[in-house]
Symmetry: C3
Subunit: 139 residues, 3 copies
């Protein structure tokens, strides 16, 4: 088969400093637009204080995730990174735990995901514009 590629960028701007946002339907739309039947979609945060991850579409769990990330990677003043004037070192750590990209398989023209898999953007230093790259390839 001959490989095709489609590259798109999502612009994200959350109202809250830390927020979990579904980007699932956008990824579905881009995969459909690509016309690719067999392949993959890379979904990757282009900012280093954000995540892209797959988990459950359940609001209680999103609160659990945020509370847990704050416990294991707390926001606090005494990071070395803050000597630069930044205040978001915790966001860099939190994004590392959840990961910043997923590779979504496409089979028979559809995202080939399990029944509960849902694609999210995780923002840990929000209220400003950031991008997510979506690059679909296959046949």
């Amino acid at each position: 088969m001959l490989m095709k590629v489609l590259t798109k960028y999502l612009w994200m701007e959350t109202k809250k400093d830390k927020e979990i946002v579904s980007i699932h339907s956008q990824i579905e739309s881009i995969a459909k637009e690509s016309g690719i039947k067999e392949g993959f979609a890379l979904v990757s945060a282009m900012h280093i204080t954000s995540s892209v991850f797959v988990n459950d579409y359940e609001q209680g769990l999103w609160e659990d995730l945020m509370k847990w990330l704050e416990e294991i990677a707390p926001s606090k003043p005494d990071y070395k990174h803050h000597l630069t004037g930044e205040t978001n070192a915790d966001a860099h750590l939190k994004r590392s735990v959840l990961g910043h990209q997923v590779l979504v398989p496409i089979t028979s023209g559809k995202l080939d995901l399990g029944p509960w898999e849902h694609i999210f953007y995780g923002e840990f230093d929000g209220r400003r514009k950031k991008r997510v790259i979506v690059k679909v390839f296959g046949e």
Copy 2:
């Protein structure tokens, strides 16, 4: 070169609630079956309380991993997610730490891994059937 794709699904059903299971030889078999000489195998858990990861084939380490995950993402009643009737919020967190997918390079028809790299399935909410997708692509 022309791209080929092979898609397979592994069915997992662990006897224990939490368990680490080698899926390495199954991935090797699927890569071989694909006939692909240069490419990649995506190995991805299709359930959101499971992981796919690469680490050491050493039973003591598997126990360390499970104990450590319980320390940083404990099983406990007071998660918001449990208001839905679920009891497995910790499994969603644990799976996030280890990750849910790996992309394995294939070179000269073989998994191109280091001497100690071994592919595992991590179950955090087991005793029921779950799937792992294995999608091989390349030439």
Copy 3:
């Protein structure tokens, strides 16, 4: 389009036991050498006590990352893995938090990354030779 593949290996040998090393310019060079205009570079640690990850090029943050990893995945004697004679169980855990691979998109012949995204190798059991595979594919 017809798919091309280029496979390279980086040799790493850090002077310190634990160290964060930029491999960004090497990945850029390999992507350029491949001549691929649209595609991806998989960058993956071939050893199970090392990471490959994307974060900020800022030395204070690297110190924060290392200190934080020591807090959540401490070096200590009482791991089961150490019954084998090994002493590096913490390195296996630390590498799991940061992840061991990234898939870098290539668009118009360049790494398609955000303004602050920078590719790093994370060593948690150093002072010996280890490899990172870089496999570029696309057109």
